[in-house]
């Protein structure tokens, strides 16, 4: 499990702070989504509880939306003005993806009888969603009216939400690390 979260962490790091506008960043974002998808695949294989399978499909949708929007933005800006809202759509799909990840992780911990850890990530999921919600609200106003202040607030909350998400994924990895180490220690004396 910890290996899956480790991959999701690095994949999220690459896709969160790069825009797929230039050729180098496009390649890095593609690599990021591939690593993230691989991480979700590992969770799906290793988790004894929780349904991570559908998250892989949502990750593909998020990747397609992010890459298509980034590549077509300049080309479509004057012909199809609603393209300005594509970052909101990407944020919404990322919210679906990561809320899904938190939900499945919480279910995983709950089904293993670890209610304290499940409760901790329920709160982290809520905080992450509130941060994304504030970012969506301010960025939507910014993309509609080009008001600098709302843009600044929206981008700040978007960045904070991504940093918070990375911290939470890292914490999930450590949680699983400790769990896996404990399981290995329990199984070693028996051998």
């Amino acid at each position: 499990m910890s290996e899956g979260y480790r991959k999701i962490f690095w994949g999220t790091l690459l896709v969160s702070f790069l825009s797929p506008g230039g050729s180098i960043s496009l390649v890095l974002v593609l690599i990021g989504w591939t690593i993230l998808k691989a991480g979700l695949g590992e969770l799906e294989e290793q988790a004894q509880a929780g349904d991570f399978k559908r998250l892989g499909k949502i990750a593909v949708l998020a990747a397609a939306l992010s890459l298509a929007g980034g590549l077509l933005y300049e080309m479509l800006l004057m012909r199809f003005p609603p393209i300005v809202f594509y970052p909101i759509m990407v944020l919404a799909v990322e919210l679906i993806l990561f809320h899904g990840m938190f939900t499945e992780s919480i279910r995983y911990f709950s089904e293993r009888g670890d209610g304290v850890t499940a409760g901790k990530y329920r709160e982290k999921d809520r905080n992450f969603m509130v941060l994304v919600g504030i970012a969506v609200l301010f960025l939507s106003v910014f993309y509609t009216f080009n008001t600098f202040v709302t843009g600044l607030i929206g981008i700040s909350f978007s960045l904070i939400s991504k940093i918070y998400l990375l911290g939470s994924i890292h914490a999930l990895k450590i949680e699983c690390d400790q769990e896996e180490t404990g399981e290995e220690e329990q199984s070693s004396p028996a051998q």
Binding site: L77, M78, P81, P82, V84, F85, I88, M89, L91, A92, L95, I96, H99, T103, I106, R122, D125, R126, M129, V130, V132, G133, V136, L137, S140, V141, Y143, T144, F145, N146, T147
Partner: protein, 294 residues
């Protein structure tokens, strides 16, 4: 988990509503074509110098419109294509490499500035007294549009005689829209005319006076030898949005007659509109008023 799911659904609904409402707003405020502001300029046509000043025109278009104006042809002087640019002339070579979208963005609109380069006309084109009202504007994507420019009144420099009876003392202008030009009169002179075709257009936008008198009142005033003539002006906010956003550069001429009946003229400068603080709603009101005018 219930609480989290409610927040999750609430945020997705919020995002959908905001994107839909934003799309509606984007289309509602979208301009089909750029709208040029009304320009009321007196324009000096210089025949002697090989380099003339840029003439600045302004228009409003959709925010982030990548097209830029590259040439202007006034319909009243057909066949004379004037090169134009939306960037100030680069002093250093690297300044010319700027590929950012020019203009000031205000909400869904962008106010753009066009520099009509080196406003000079061929010798065979009669310019003095000509009024330019319509122009064909060419963009860098090959598109063209014919626009109402306002009124550009062309004039050629009057040749000064040797007995020019004025001595320039001082000129000043301020960012608050006020200006003053002071001349010393070298011979006894009577003001015989203070007319300018643009004066009527600029009522409510420009208050200009000769020694505190309205131009009409000043006609008939006598200035003795060595007396001082002060021409002052102040920019007014305008009575409505069409007037407030109009651009002007007014060069009125005063006509004097000396004791021997000789006619002398003197042109005054520094009477121009100030940088307007545009706003998104102000621009929308202006565009609506222009459409209603048609």
């Amino acid at each position: 988990m219930e609480k989290n799911n409610r927040i999750y659904k609430g945020i997705l609904i919020l995002a959908a509503v905001l994107v839909l409402a934003g799309t509606g707003i984007v289309y509602y405020f979208r301009l089909e074509q750029p709208v040029f502001f009304a320009h009321y300029y007196d324009v000096r046509v210089d025949r002697e110098s090989s380099y003339s000043e840029d003439m600045i025109l302004r228009y409003v278009t959709n925010a982030y419109d990548r097209r830029v104006v590259t040439a202007v042809e006034f319909l009243e002087i057909p066949g004379v294509m004037l090169w134009a640019s939306e960037r100030e002339e680069a002093i250093f070579s690297w300044e010319g490499e700027d590929d950012s979208i020019p203009g000031e963005v205000h909400g869904r609109y962008s106010v753009r500035k066009v520099y009509v380069r080196n406003f000079s006309l061929p010798e065979d084109v009669e310019a003095d007294g000509k009024v330019l009202r319509k122009a064909k504007v060419r963009f860098d994507d090959g598109s063209e549009m014919t626009v109402d420019m306002g009124e550009l009144h062309l004039y050629e420099d009057e040749r000064r005689d040797e007995t020019h009876p004025f001595e320039h003392v001082s000129s000043s202008s301020s960012s608050d829209g006020t200006s003053q030009t002071v001349y010393r009169i070298l011979d006894e002179l009577t003001v015989t005319e203070a007319e300018n075709p643009l004066a009527e257009r600029l009522k409510g936008r420009l208050d200009w006076r000769l020694d505190e008198k309205e131009p009409d009142e000043a006609v008939g005033s006598i200035y003795g030898e060595r007396s001082i003539l002060s021409v002052s002006s102040s920019v007014l906010p305008g009575e409505d949005i069409l007037s407030a956003y109009a651009l002007f550069d007014f060069h009125p001429v005063l006509t004097f007659t000396d004791q021997e009946g000789r006619v002398h003229t003197q042109r005054f400068y520094n009477m121009r509109s100030q940088k307007e603080n545009h706003s998104f709603l102000g621009l929308h009101a202006y565009i609506s008023a222009r459409e209603a005018e048609k």
